[in-house]
């Protein structure tokens, strides 16, 4: 199981953590979008691809944009999704 953390600015009904299956990072994001459709517009473009402008951390390590497609997220990991503009 992978824990996905989102910003409180995105939170629906105060919830900021979710669980998905392990897998490639883009698929983890798609799992979240499928399970929680209200997040789809924040995560995926109209082609169903994760937005490149999001910052993604896996277990506190920033994942460079050019390597996201290949990153495997293991069971027990935490993925934190950070918008490029935070605060407010």
């Amino acid at each position: 199981m992978v824990v996905v953390v989102v910003s409180r600015a995105w939170a629906q009904h105060g919830r900021t953590t979710f669980e998905t299956d392990a897998g490639r990072l883009p698929d983890v994001l798609r799992q979240l979008a499928d399970a929680e459709p209200e997040y789809r517009r924040r995560l995926l473009n109209s082609d169903g691809e994760p937005y490149g402008y999001l910052s993604i951390f896996v277990d506190a390590e920033s994942v460079p944009r050019n390597s996201r497609a290949e990153i495997e997220v293991a069971d027990g990991s935490t993925v934190t999704i950070v918008p490029p503009l935070v605060g407010g």
Partner: protein, 286 residues
């Protein structure tokens, strides 16, 4: 427009006093108290005198920089800029400072603040101009002076003093009302950035004579993201930006009154990201 204000050296308390968080909660705005915890506790800062631009950098000024250097912004190199469309933030092909909403669009005017500026773009311009980006503390001192005030002109909100969403839409109670307004803007005018000529508001001067420090465009500062108190229980996504992002101050034309306060803190990804409401102003040692 190439005019700088001198801010005398000072010791001041950066950040918001706790009563401001109480007030924010009492206002019934969309965010919980925890969202603003990063503004507290106030920290004592001592600054040497410095100079800071009275206005954000304009399209004309940035055009001069590009003409002199051939510089390409991050948005131009990547082939897209980030724009708030009718659905959400989107990567819009060919959107950049020249074409804020994509091919065929143009800036509102040469005297408008330039947008789609990444942190590197802002830093490159500042170096070319013989200046630098202000630190976060310098920006806040320039915006409100030594004595605390919510907005550059004081503690009483006036929607006619700043370019915010409330200037264009009237009072906005929550994010749903903002959303309805922006949907209407997209339908009526294609979702163009609602920038205005710099210095349009003679009443919004800071104590040192700087303008447009509330609203207009988000302004980059040089300071990496940090918390005034490491033990603050702030948003986990916000905490993740510490040391990775850079400060953005002043809010923008997209925001409510609460996001354009002098002590409000935002953070942006400096790794090439920008959007159609992000600009900057420069500073220089005195």
């Amino acid at each position: 427009m190439d005019e700088m204000a001198r801010v005398p050296g000072a010791t001041f308390l950066q950040g918001s006093p706790s009563w401001v968080l109480d007030w924010l909660v009492s206002e019934g705005q969309s965010f919980p108290r925890e969202w603003f915890v990063d503004e507290t506790p106030q920290i004592q800062v001592r600054l040497a005198a410095f100079l800071i631009d009275r206005y954000p950098v304009t399209v004309a000024q940035f055009r001069d920089f590009v003409a002199a250097t051939g510089y390409l912004t991050d948005a131009e190199r990547s082939g897209f800029g980030v724009v708030y469309g009718p659905r959400f933030w989107e990567e819009r092909r060919d959107a950049s400072w020249r074409c804020p909403t994509g091919a065929g669009s143009s800036p509102g005017g040469e005297d408008h603040p330039v947008v789609h500026i990444s942190w590197q773009d802002a830093d490159a311009y500042a170096r070319w101009a013989g200046k630098r980006l202000p630190t976060e503390a310098e920006w806040e001192l320039a915006a409100r002076g030594v004595d605390y005030r919510i907005w550059p002109w004081g503690n009483d909100w006036n929607a006619k003093f700043a370019n915010t969403a409330e200037l264009h839409a009237g009072p906005l109670a929550d994010r749903d009302s903002w959303w309805r307004w922006w949907q209407a803007e997209c339908s009526a005018r294609g979702g163009q950035p609602l920038t205005m000529p710099v210095g349009s508001f003679g009443d919004n001067a800071s104590p040192y004579g700087c303008y447009d420090m509330a609203g207009s465009v988000y302004e980059w500062v040089s300071t990496p993201s940090f918390l005034y108190d490491d033990a603050s229980e702030c948003d986990p996504a916000m905490r993740m930006t510490v040391g990775h992002y850079r400060g953005l101050r002043g809010g923008s034309w997209m925001n409510f009154r609460y996001q354009v306060r002098c002590s409000e803190r935002m953070y942006g990804d400096p790794a090439g990201w920008s959007n159609f409401a992000v600009g900057f102003r420069c500073a220089r040692d005195s």
